[in-house]
Every structure is written in structure tokens, then in C-alpha cells.
Symmetry: C3
Subunit: 131 residues, 3 copies
């Protein structure tokens, strides 16, 4: 159910982009009850002046590699789970050579009937309910 | 009032892209009280590894043509209307040669004052209120 | 905290794009309590048939330069502040040669814990709270 928009600087190498996409999905599966096959990601590369990321806001030391992960999913995840998501993604980013300081995450919530996964219906399975 | 982001694989032919944009707008007008001239769409093409769409999630058989329609509109549409929107868009997609299984729809809601259609003001017309 | 997506026609000249990005940020700082260093913008250019903007909806006279500013920030801004944001952005656009009629703004809200500005945590500072 998540729809994930990942906006990155265009200079990231291909293998790192793929690893980042995997890292984001892995963190979602691990921490916020996303099924492994529930993967829908839109990745967009931007030239420098099109991805404007402040270098110091909130005392975070961002580099030219700073990127945004914008996740839409259903309402219902606890604050604790969201914090676990941020921590898991940061750890996974670091493991693939992306500085955790360069990973900004923004969450957006909607409701179960706001999703049609295709075929013209609103799929809502019990297995997808979040605690 | 809807703002519609349509993210598609780059191999779709031009005439199909135009027909898809028309289909999305037609479904919105038919099912969720969108005025015919209230059309604002952002269409973005992506190479294969930038649009990651699981092929089987929720038992939907997606192809390499799978795409995302991400719609932002005001709060207030009923579940019934949203389901009618999914069904109408699926039928319209099929009519133009796009498999309904390849059309994912995600809805996002906000409030009337969250829209400025230009000229520096928040336009809110009675005709736009939804039931 | 705002994440700002600016979608523009590809024919806008570079200096105007930069001025527009500054105008959007300036309006946010002036009217809705955004700190000056809290700047995160994703700017995307589109060919004509990929950015579909009705020319007359709501009696606004849009040109081929019409663009969208889609802002995500935390819940809590008053209607009055949102209206001030639209007015400020329109005035700033006009000052740099962009017609206010061509500036569409859409707001989207979430909550404080929905933001990680990097480093794997959810930053929430008192200074960021909005009235």
C-alpha cells in the first residue's frame, strides 16, 4: 500500500539508486507492516538546481547527495512505528554508503478506501490492517 | 480542484498517454462531481527501473505498462463515489487499450482553503461543494 | 518543514525558475512561520502536453506559463495564514514577471512525527510549532 516517491540528485550511481530503493522497501517491510510484495516506487532524478535541500536545517549536516523519500500510506501507524521506520531506513542507507544525514523522509496518510491497486476496485484485505 | 499526478512508463505511445489523461479526467467528472473545466494534470514518464510496480500484489496481474494515478482533492467524497471512480477509470482505460490491472489509483484529501487556483486567493465556490 | 513540489512548463527561463523558487520560499517564511533555513524544494520541468492546466477554470485567465506549487507541511496553520500565503506568493510572483493568474497552489497537511529531516530521527522543535 505505500506509494513511495524517491527524489534524488542525478549524480547518484545506478547501483546506489537500486540499493536505496531496496533499502526503503526493506525498512517499510521491517517496521510498519508492509507486505514484501507491496512495492510501488517512483524514483526521479534531478539536476542540482532542481532539488533544493538546505545544508544545515535542524542541525543536520547534509551533503550534495541529500535526497527525499516521500511515503503515502494508510492512517494507523503509531508514532513508535514511524520512528522505527526512520531508524531502520537510516541504518540501511548507511550500510549501502548513503549518509543518514542525507535521507529526508516525509509521511502522508490517507484511508483504506483511497487505494485501488488495479482492476477498478478498492482492495482492502484484513492482512493489510495496521496496528 | 483535483490535482492529478499521472506517472507512466516511458514506452507508452503518445496517443495512449493523451487518451489516458482524458480517461482520468472523464472518470472524475462522471463520478465525483468535478466540473469539466477543472482539469489540472501533471504527467511524468519514467524509464523502467524508475517506476517500480510489483507484478502481483493483491492478486492483480500487472504488466510492464503498469502506471499510477495519484489524485489530490477535497475531503468529502463518499466511499461509494470513490469506488465508482475506480470502476469508471478502469472501464475507460480498457476502452483505450490499457489493461485495468495496470491502473493503480491513490487518493489524497485536503480542505477547501487548501486550494488557490491562481490570482493569490483561495477560491471556494458553492458549485464545487461535494456531497 | 515544508516539502515543496514546483511543477513548471519547460520553457521558463533559468533565471525565472530560480526567482520563482525564492519567491515560494520567501512567502512561506513571511506568512506561515517557516524558518529561513527550512527550505526543501523539488522543481520539475514538463513539456506542454505533460502539464495540463485548464485555461479558464474559476474565471482565472491562465497562460501557457501556468504552474503548480504543491506544498506539504504540518497541520495547524489557520485559514487566515493560508490566505496570506497565497497573497504573498502572488505578489512575489508578479514582482519577478510571473502572472499571479498562472500560480496555482495546493496545500497538504500531515503531523509533526511525519517528518524526519535526516539522521534517522523525527525532529520536532518547539520553534517549529505553528499557531
Amino acid at each position: 500500500m505505500p506509494l513511495v516517491r524517491i527524489d534524488i540528485p542525478q549524480h547518484l550511481p545506478e547501483h546506489r539508486i537500486a540499493a536505496l530503493a531496496d533499502a526503503v522497501h526493506g525498512a517499510l517491510v521491517e517496521t510498519v507492516d508492509v507486505p514484501p510484495t507491496d512495492r510501488f516506487q517512483i524514483i526521479t532524478e534531478h539536476p542540482p538546481r532542481r532539488l533544493v535541500m538546505d545544508r544545515t536545517y535542524f542541525d543536520v549536516d547534509r551533503s550534495a547527495d541529500a535526497l527525499v523519500v516521500h511515503i503515502t500510506f494508510r492512517r494507523g501507524r503509531s508514532e513508535e512505528k514511524k520512528r522505527a521506520l526512520y531508524a531502520s531506513l537510516a541504518a540501511r542507507a548507511e550500510a549501502i554508503g548513503i549518509r543518514p544525514e542525507d535521507v529526508m523522509v516525509v509521511l502522508q496518510e490517507n484511508t483504506p478506501v483511497d487505494w485501488s491497486f488495479g482492476a477498478g476496485i478498492a482492495q482492502m484485505a484484513p492482512a493489510e490492517l495496521v496496528a
